[in-house]
């Protein structure tokens, strides 16, 4: 029983933090087009983390991918890594996997009739689990880096793997943890430096205890995400409930973390200029795509209590 990250996992996480913070700083041009640097991701091996070495990947697993996703949430990475690696990869056969690892194909998955990043991916796994060329009308969302599109369905091509819902939910939960961690740090920084009534506002418990509650939420959410990621990686039978738990808890934690951090920042936190609203919108996107937290909890309740029967 050892649930700490291994040294290699910690190194991968630090490397992701360093690479992402260099290329996606907080003072970037948020409103212009953002480069997803896909070729660089392929070169780093991050597109093929769980793809076998024979297929041109790294031969690690989903836990490592979850760590990268956490860091992508932390940095607000704009590209369709979540869709390609988090959502679609498990459905693909060997050739498609190799193409993902090599960085030549971006994928997404149709979720409740809408397809994230439809305009910037090449292929889509549709609701039936069929491969479709990515064509259709795109809709802007609360997070402009993450549009949703209405896929134009063709006959489609069957795929060998499943629409792996537990994997997708865990991937979103991992991003949510990164978002929550980042806004916590921004809140702590502000509360430590902003002075009112002659003191940094972080000495006031009405401020500091909000951040403490976020810290507790982040730690608990991270534990659920790593548990779910381990279950997915090991094909453990608890993977579906663990993933539902992780997504329900982490998405709500991220939204609440952003709301507290905006409050702690005062008027500054409400401005367009400050990056906090970008994190808030990412958190809302993560909460809104796929099942809602209360739907996920009712799924879990069915598992724990048995499905409701008419009396």
């Amino acid at each position: 029983m050892d649930f700490a990250l291994t040294e290699e996992q910690q190194e991968l996480k630090s490397a992701a933090r360093a690479w992402l913070s260099e290329r996606y700083p907080l003072d970037r041009d948020w409103d212009g087009p953002q480069d997803d640097r896909w070729a660089e991701l392929a070169e780093l091996g991050w597109l093929g983390v769980s793809v076998s070495e024979e297929e041109g990947g790294v031969g690690l697993g989903f836990v490592e991918e979850a760590l990268i996703l956490e860091e992508m949430g932390y940095a607000l990475y704009p590209g369709p890594y979540l869709a390609t690696v988090g959502f679609a990869l498990a459905a693909l056969g060997p050739e498609d996997r190799a193409a993902v690892a090599a960085g030549t194909t971006r994928w997404s998955v149709e979720v409740n009739g809408l397809t994230p990043w439809l305009g910037s991916v090449d292929m889509v796994v549709d609701m039936e689990g069929l491969a479709q060329p990515a064509r259709g009308e795109e809709l802007v969302t609360v997070d402009p880096s993450r549009p949703l599109g209405r896929l134009e369905h063709t006959n489609g091509t069957p795929l060998p793997g499943p629409r792996h819902i537990a994997r997708a939910r865990t991937a979103m939960a991992a991003e949510a943890v990164g978002v929550a961690q980042r806004v916590l740090e921004l809140g702590v920084e502000h509360a430590s430096t902003r002075t009112q009534f002659g003191k940094p506002i972080g000495v006031y418990q009405a401020v500091s205890h909000q951040l403490t509650d976020t810290y507790c939420d982040v730690e608990l959410a991270r534990s659920l995400v790593y548990w779910a990621a381990w279950c997915v990686a090991e094909d453990d039978e608890q993977a579906p409930v663990a993933a539902a738990a992780a997504k329900a808890f982490a998405a709500e934690a991220a939204v609440a973390a952003c709301e507290r951090s905006i409050q702690v920042h005062g008027g500054t936190g409400f401005t367009w200029e400050h990056p906090l609203h970008r994190f808030y919108k990412r958190a809302l996107w993560l909460e809104g795509v796929g099942s809602r937290p209360d739907e996920l909890r009712l799924e879990i309740a069915d598992e724990l209590l048995g499905v409701t029967v008419p009396v």
């Binding site: 029983m1 050892d2 649930f3 700490a4 990250l5 291994t6 996992q9 836990v63 916590l184 702590v188 509360a191 430590s192 003191k199 940094p200 972080g202 000495v203 006031y204 418990q205 500091s208 205890h209 951040l211 403490t212 509650d213 810290y215 507790c216 730690e219 608990l220 959410a221 991270r222 534990s223 659920l224 790593y226 548990w227 381990w230 663990a242 738990a245 329900a248 808890f249 209360d294 909890r297 009712l298 879990i300 309740a301 724990l304 209590l305 048995g306 409701t308 029967v309 008419p310 009396v311």
Partner: protein, 381 residues
């Protein structure tokens, strides 16, 4: 990262399960806690049995009678004994607080005199920290320790002291130098509870039982060699005690919560059919239980490597206490009128849970600890 038991851990778990099946009488399982933890001889007998089987002081060094096992074994012990609804060792203060403090700051004589007796429950310990005017602000302790020749003369009052009415020894913090700056005038000593001048009065709590006590010290003479560390170093010694209080405690707390959540699920199967609101709340409690469980596992990794519990222990206790209050309230609510019957498990647990956010660090103090020591926010004091 691997959540499965190692072969050694699996063997230990299996052996412990068998031992519990063989040794724990059925009628002693699932008692509701409270007074029965103290009043009855079974507690000491059970503790001695645990010791004889090698389960007391699992992580203590072998030279002091422990098993020298890794912290994961302690975690497994909490998981299995709680699932079997076994009573705990009565010496929790000795095992979790006094023992580790004596190991760190005690003399060789003190270690030899007390450590093995703590394990065997020959000595029950209590804690003399809080005072009527020094609760969360421990450094405000005013119990006087006055040096006179070979002894310290102790006068003062302690409060909220669990086990004091059956304790043989007490870890006591008090003021040895009233003129010293804050923190520097405090000393820490071990006191024989049978010394003349020690008086214990049980305090009745909202459940109707008396789990804790007031202790009055009137001209109690304590040999000077009973000091831990030097005179004036009481604050540092007390910090060791409080650090160890949170060690693997998270596992014990979470395991107890799991028993409650399992009961909650059983109640909800009967009472929450078709009630989406109740089902949502039950699922939320289950989710947070898993979150606490895997946070324990993550912090265990750090503890194994450093031997020092990480500050996330404060977060675990904080969230556990709030969850236990929510969970017991929900169980009681789901049972309707049955939930308020006076001999009911849920009604008792809900009342008892109100102490959870106060004992062993109030939630307010724990939030301050997290804010200052974990998040690095500026100190308010």
């Amino acid at each position: 990262m691997d959540l499965r038991d190692t072969p050694e851990e699996a063997a230990f778990r299996a052996e412990l399960r068998t031992w519990l099946d063989d040794n724990l009488p059925e009628e002693r399982r699932g008692r509701r806690g409270g007074e029965q933890r103290f009043g009855d001889e079974f507690g000491r007998d059970w503790s001695r049995k645990l010791h004889e089987a090698g389960y007391a002081g699992l992580t203590w060094p072998k030279e002091y009678g422990g098993a020298g096992a890794p912290y994961s074994f302690q975690a497994i012990f909490y998981e299995e004994t709680t699932r079997a609804q076994a009573p705990s060792h009565v010496g929790v203060i000795g095992l979790g607080m006094a023992g580790p403090t004596i190991m760190t700051h005690g003399t060789e004589e003190q270690k030899q005199a007390h450590l093995s007796k703590i394990l065997s429950a020959e000595e029950i310990w209590c804690q003399g920290f809080s005072e009527p005017d020094a609760g969360s602000d421990l450094a405000a302790a005013r119990t006087r320790m006055e040096r006179r020749g070979d002894v310290y003369v102790v006068n003062g009052q302690k409060v909220w002291s669990s086990f004091a009415h059956i304790a043989d020894w007490c870890i006591l913090i008090g003021l040895s130098d009233p003129d010293a700056p804050r923190y520097k005038g405090l000393s820490y000593m071990i006191v024989d509870m049978r010394s003349p001048g020690v008086e214990v009065r049980p305090l009745r709590q909202i459940t109707g039982e008396a789990e804790f006590n007031e202790i009055f010290f009137t001209d109690v003479e304590v040999p000077a060699e009973n000091l831990l560390a030097e005179e004036g170093q009481g604050w540092q010694v007390a910090m060791t005690t409080l650090l160890h209080e949170r060690g693997t405690l998270g596992f014990a707390l979470t395991a107890a919560l799991e028993v409650g959540v399992d009961r909650l699920i059983a109640v909800a199967r009967e009472r929450a059919n078709g009630d989406a609101v109740a089902r949502d709340r039950v699922a939320q409690e289950w989710i947070e239980l898993q979150a606490l469980r895997y946070t324990n596992y993550r912090s265990l990794g750090t503890y194994q490597r450093t031997g020092i519990p990480g500050p996330e222990g404060s977060a675990i206790k904080l969230r556990w206490s709030e969850q236990n209050q929510r969970m017991t309230k929900l169980g009681r609510e789901l049972l309707g009128e049955e939930g308020i019957l006076d001999d009911g498990w849920w009604h008792y647990q809900q009342l008892r849970s109100r102490g959870n956010t106060i004992e062993a660090g109030t939630s307010e103090v724990l939030r301050n600890i997290v804010a200052e020591r974990v998040l690095g926010l500026p100190k308010g004091r």
